[in-house]
């Protein structure tokens, strides 16, 4: 870059090439050079251009897609009173776990997440969501690294983004919001939009952002749909879902936008009205036929409602429109895997590999698929790759756990034992590994050890039925019928349709009746 280049143009160019810190530094120089005026005045000057560009650069640095980012804090989860129906009809609410109606695989085949939903092929913020019954449980469960969630969505990730941005500026914040005259900026739509995004994304000061947006929309005589969407976003962050809904709807009336539809659907999901959200998406599809974001949204909702087959249908529709859609490929792949078609799943995962996804999880899945598809030659190499690609201990633990599975499958119990031990070394919260290890101990006849391991597993993951059931069988074998009965009941609670548990319970009841 030549030294004689116009500095503003240079900054602009940096911005276009996403070199934001460079851009910001250039703008700072420009701003220092500009004569003493601190706030942009009536005409749009070079100073204003630099100011606006710097605001945008700082915003872009910390920008996270507002549609995708969604984190429900403990407080929202537990103190949530937005849903209308306390006990909704099955299939119309996201709150009820385990109400499979679409003929998806049972938890015996497909493992479930903490919330009792089958695990998906793609990790999204909302896939972690679970709804524990009590506040105590809610606070206690996320003590593991995997499931940690913020206290409220207002603290959590947003606040961290805000503080992160503060650190980058040693001279204090670029714009001192409390000293801004928001009404003045609201009258300059071009500056106001940049400033709003800065306040909203960079400073994470929703209240001031809302004030600015309200003033600006008034100045635009309520005719600018963009401001309405922004007000809706602020309300959504503040937890005022009904107000947000109103703003989004009004914006949609003015201008059909996919973004707005997605935001509105988010509001409905928070209000626990998945059917309304689905209808909204379907209406959106009439206006934007084949829109991937909408199709994907529908598929996600079906998946969260446990309607796996419908979800798969929509994921296939997504692929028809966009055959490089990673989320859809991964979800269809995992669905095939859990419905006993590892060969087809393998093809989907290979497709991912072709597209350049190259990480531990993918090789892990590939390894498992190869194993179940009886392509043993590829299995171990895949796992080796996965191990070498693992970025942290949790990932390593997962790989070892799966290797343990393979070892159990080929009957090498010693290897399996070692694998599960290695899993626990890497991640000592791995409940599934505890459970499997306990089963191995049981086979060896080490009852006491098995019992201890199972107890650990069930306290780590109360939502899994396996440790409870195993504990029940173990206790029944050693003659501790009372404990067996209690554990069996827990198991039934976690997975009502489990036949073995039911049989065990029946047997126990007969025993008690005899006594």
């Amino acid at each position: 870059m030549g030294p004689d280049m116009e500095p503003l143009f240079q900054a602009w160019s940096c911005f276009r090439r996403r070199k934001f810190s460079q851009c910001s530094a250039l703008c700072s120089q420009l701003l220092q050079r500009a004569p003493g005026e601190q706030e942009p005045e009536s005409e749009y000057t070079v100073f204003q251009a630099a100011w606006s560009l710097k605001t945008r650069a700082l915003t872009e640095m910390v920008y996270v897609d507002e549609i995708e980012v969604d984190q429900e804090g403990i407080a929202e989860m537990m103190l949530d009173e937005n849903a209308i129906a306390q006990v909704a009809r099955p299939g119309t609410s996201l709150k009820l776990p385990g109400t499979s109606q679409g003929g998806g695989p049972s938890p015996a085949v497909r493992p479930v997440t903490q919330s009792g939903r089958p695990i998906t092929g793609f990790v999204r913020p909302s896939t972690q969501s679970g709804r524990p019954g009590t506040m105590e449980q809610a606070i206690k469960t996320p003590r593991t690294a995997h499931t940690a969630r913020p206290i409220t969505s207002a603290s959590g990730r947003y606040a961290r983004l805000g503080t992160a941005s503060m650190l980058t500026n040693p001279d204090g914040p670029f714009i001192n919001i409390s000293r801004l005259n928001l009404a003045k900026y609201a009258h300059k739509p071009k500056l106001a939009k940049a400033l709003f995004e800065y306040i909203f994304h960079h400073e994470n000061d929703v209240k001031n952002a809302l004030d600015l947006a309200a003033l600006a929309t008034e100045h635009a005589q309520f005719k600018d749909w963009w401001w309405k969407v922004q007000i809706g976003k602020c309300y959504y962050r503040l937890g005022l879902y009904r107000e947000a809904e109103k703003q989004f709807k009004s914006a949609l009336k003015q201008q059909d936008m996919i973004d707005t539809i997605l935001y509105l659907a988010k509001v409905y999901l928070r209000l626990d009205q998945p059917v309304t959200a689905l209808n909204l998406f379907k209406q959106g599809l009439d206006r934007f036929p084949g829109e991937v974001a909408l199709l994907c949204g529908i598929a996600r909702i079906y998946e969260e409602m446990n309607d796996i087959s419908s979800a798969a249908e929509y994921y296939k529709d997504v692929l028809k429109q966009d055959n490089t859609h990673v989320e859809a490929i991964a979800c269809i792949g995992s669905n095939h895997f859990y419905s006993d078609q590892p060969e087809i799943a393998l093809r989907f995962y290979r497709r991912l590999l072709q597209m350049g996804v190259y990480n531990c999880q993918l090789f892990n899945n590939l390894g498992l698929c190869c194993f179940y598809a009886q392509q043993y030659d590829m299995t171990l190499t895949s796992f080796e790759r996965a191990l070498s690609l693992a970025e942290n201990e949790e990932e390593t633990a997962d790989v070892w756990y799966n290797l343990g599975h393979v070892a159990v499958g080929i009957g090498d119990l010693n290897l399996a034992h070692q694998c599960f031990r290695l899993t626990l070394v890497n991640n000592n919260d791995h409940a599934e590994a505890y459970n499997n290890l306990a089963v191995l101990e049981m086979r060896k006849g080490h009852t006491e050890q098995a019992r201890a391991l199972l107890q650990t597993a069930s306290s780590l993951a109360p939502h899994m039925y396996e440790p409870h059931f195993n504990f029940a069988t173990l206790s029944e074998k050693v003659g501790d019928l009372q404990r067996s009965y209690i554990a069996a009941q827990k198991s039934e609670e976690a997975f009502p349709g489990h036949v073995d548990t039911q049989q065990l319970l029946k047997q126990l009841k007969e025993h008690f009746a005899m006594l």
Binding site: A75, I84, V87, R89, I151, K207, L210, V275, T276
Partner: protein, 665 residues
């Protein structure tokens, strides 16, 4: 529905706001099943219970005091019509408001009924200003004045409908004529039309505050069935609750007792009362017999007295008065004195030396409890009784007068009954045209009517000392209000141009409406200017804007605070679980402080909201008043145009519409 484990047949819905009205029915014809409509002070929610999804959620700033669901007039899709503070709004299933109009006061009850028998339903609105108004779409076709707030309306069949007032009155109207009414010391909590005796005609079922339920015949008001609950009735509904194909009447009391009634079968022949009812009838008849015997004896005594020409005093004691005795009544305006405020005076006098022992006046809406008894003390008995009347509203009232006439020492009196109508604008006294400065505000209109007709109207509606004679065509009459000494001037110019000057926009509206109905004018466009009132309205509109802005900021503050509270609560609980009592205590103390702050803020918000509501009500009333200055089509146009102006926040346009009646100049 398989629902919560605790109570299998109850499922709870959480609305997060105080619920003010509730109804259900088919709102979306394509959906094919009922939707639930929930009205709160600020919102209306249409909710599809079956699929747990909203049909729409609308903010209604005027509140929703009453709701009714059904088709209205020519509007094809079913509407959810809500009545709020002075406003009526109808929403279709997509949440579009297809119907909007204003009414005189806060709406308390709504019903849909085919009022004029044209096969389309009209909307009945009962409001806090004691009026039942009938809307044919957005045009008022009839107004009935009652004596208290109308708490419930229920269509019966055809043009007949039942109503209940907050003072315990229940009755039935057919079109604008009242069939019957009864008054009880208890309050009617709920009324419903249901054919309980299977005679093909609905009875009016009333649930009372003392737990009584009775069914009354729609024609006579006679009780045909009654039952008693231990506590006050909460509501009455009908439905096929047992799913056996029969509709039942279901009554629910406030402490949760629910009883269902099936309609009586054919064999009962509409006779639902048990044996004790017959005994009641016998008792009643024997009492009647007793009364008749008493009367007969009186006549005999009188006949005896006529035979023996005895002393006059003895006659007096027996209650004989001259046959030509007449009771005369006169209404006049009394301008009042220091001790007494201005009022209308009813003077009742006899034509000879007989005296009036007592007067009983029965009139709706003038006296508390509808009747008034004047009972002069023994010393000042005379042949003339003056009763002060102060009707609170400008409505024509029928005075039913009963006077006891006799001699000073009579023990029996003759009862004279007569009815006198109080003119509509009786509270205005004629004054000389130049006695006070003419009001600045005026209404001008042109009526193609002869001046004589207008003079006739004047004579009928005002209490004039002597009937006004037709003077030369441009002539002027002035009145002073007895209530607030406001001036009213009516000028009639040649060519039918009429100008009404008064500062009271309500009065101007009443005069226009009264004239129009007397002269049978269908459409009337006027030009009006009320500078003082408009200025006030402008202030109110500015305030509404301010309140809206403040409200938004307060809401955002509140939301932020509540987020903070949530996080503190979780932190405190976390500390408790960890056994960190010191921290927990600290958190809870913080929480307590924050909570106090929040409550203070809430109070501020509440005040803000109440003021906003009052201001909005004032705006709605202004539109209503501007409408009342016109008749027929111009009236509807003005109301619609005013609403558009308010929606667009165009105040100048609003005032122009109120002045000239149209948006375009």
């Amino acid at each position: 529905m398989v629902q919560s484990t605790q109570d299998a047949d109850i499922s709870l819905l959480n609305i997060n706001q105080g619920i003010t009205c509730l109804t259900s029915g088919v709102l979306n014809p394509q959906l094919g099943y009922d939707s639930l409509l929930v009205g709160t002070q600020t919102n209306l929610l249409a909710y599809d219970v079956h699929s747990n999804s909203d049909l729409f959620y609308k903010e209604v700033s005027d509140g929703a005091n009453a709701i009714v669901l059904g088709t209205l007039g020519d509007i094809s899709s079913p509407l959810a019509i809500i009545g709020g503070n002075c406003a009526l709004q109808g929403f279709d299933y997509e949440g579009n408001d297809l119907f909007w109009t204003v009414t005189g006061d806060n709406v308390r009850s709504l019903a849909l009924c085919d009022f004029d028998g044209d096969g389309k339903t009209e909307l009945l609105v009962g409001s806090e200003d004691f009026d039942i108004r009938v809307f044919k779409e957005d045009e008022i076709v009839a107004e009935m004045s009652e004596t208290e707030t109308i708490t419930a309306l229920s269509p019966m069949y055809g043009s007949r409908f039942g109503y209940a007032l907050s003072n315990g009155t229940v009755g039935v109207y057919d079109k604008t004529a009242r069939y019957w009414r009864i008054k009880s010391k208890n309050h009617a909590m709920s009324i419903h039309a249901f054919d309980l005796n299977s005679d093909g005609v609905c009875e009016l079922i009333t649930g009372w505050s003392n737990g009584k339920v009775d069914a009354r015949s729609d024609r006579t008001g006679e009780v045909i069935f009654k039952d008693n609950f231990a506590s006050s009735i909460a509501g009455l509904v009908e439905g096929d609750y047992r799913m056996d194909g029969n509709t039942q009447l279901i009554c629910c009391s406030v402490d949760g007792e629910v009883r269902g009634y099936l309609p009586g079968g054919e064999e009962m022949k509409g006779n639902l009362m048990d044996a004790s009812a017959e005994q009641d009838l016998i008792r009643e008849l024997s009492q009647k017999k007793q009364n008749l015997l008493l009367e007969l004896r009186n006549y005999e005594e009188n006949a005896k007295a006529e035979l023996n020409t005895q002393l006059k005093e003895a006659d007096g004691r027996r209650g004989v008065i001259p046959a030509n005795t007449q009771l005369q009544t006169a209404l006049s305006v009394n301008l009042g004195s220091d001790s007494q405020s201005a009022h209308v005076e009813l003077c009742i006098s006899t034509t000879n030396d007989t005296i009036i022992r007592a007067v009983l006046i029965f009139a709706e809406g003038i006296f508390e409890g509808e009747s008034h008894v004047v009972h002069p003390s023994l010393q000042n008995l005379s042949g003339c009784v003056r009763v002060p009347l102060t009707p609170p509203k400008d409505v024509p009232v029928d005075l039913h007068i009963k006077a006891f006439v006799g001699y000073r020492n009579s023990t029996q009196f003759h009862v004279f009954e007569l009815t006198r109508q109080l003119p509509r604008f009786s509270m205005y006294a004629l004054s000389s045209p130049d006695s006070a400065a003419e009001p600045l505000s005026y209404v001008n209109c042109t009526m193609n009517e002869r001046a004589q007709r207008i003079v006739m109207w004047l004579n009928q509606s005002f209490l004039l000392p002597e009937d006004a004679e037709l003077q030369s065509a441009p002539f002027q009459v002035c009145f002073t209000s007895l209530r607030n000494a406001g001036q009213l001037c009516i000028k009639i110019k040649p060519g039918g141009e009429i100008s009404i000057s008064t500062d009271d926009i309500d009065l101007a509206g009443d005069i226009i409406q009264s004239m129009a109905s007397f002269l049978a004018i269908e459409d009337l466009q006027v030009e009006a200017d009320f500078p003082a009132y408009f200025e006030e309205l402008r202030k109110v509109l500015v305030k509404v804007d301010e309140r809206h802005a403040v409200n938004q900021r307060l809401t955002a503050d509140m939301a932020e605070h509540s987020n903070l509270i949530r996080s503190m609560l979780v932190q405190a609980e976390d500390a408790r679980l960890l056994g960190d009592m010191k921290n927990m205590k600290k958190r809870y103390i913080e929480l307590y402080d924050l909570n106090r702050d929040l409550i203070n803020q809430y109070k501020i918000r509440c005040n803000n909201h109440t003021e906003l509501l009052n201001n909005l009500k004032a705006v709605n009333q202004a539109i209503q008043r501007a409408g009342r200055l016109r008749v027929g089509k111009p009236k509807t146009q003005v109301i619609t145009a005013c609403r558009d102006a308010i929606r667009n926040n165009n105040f100048n346009m609003l005032f122009r519409i109120m002045r000239v009646g149209t948006a375009s100049s």
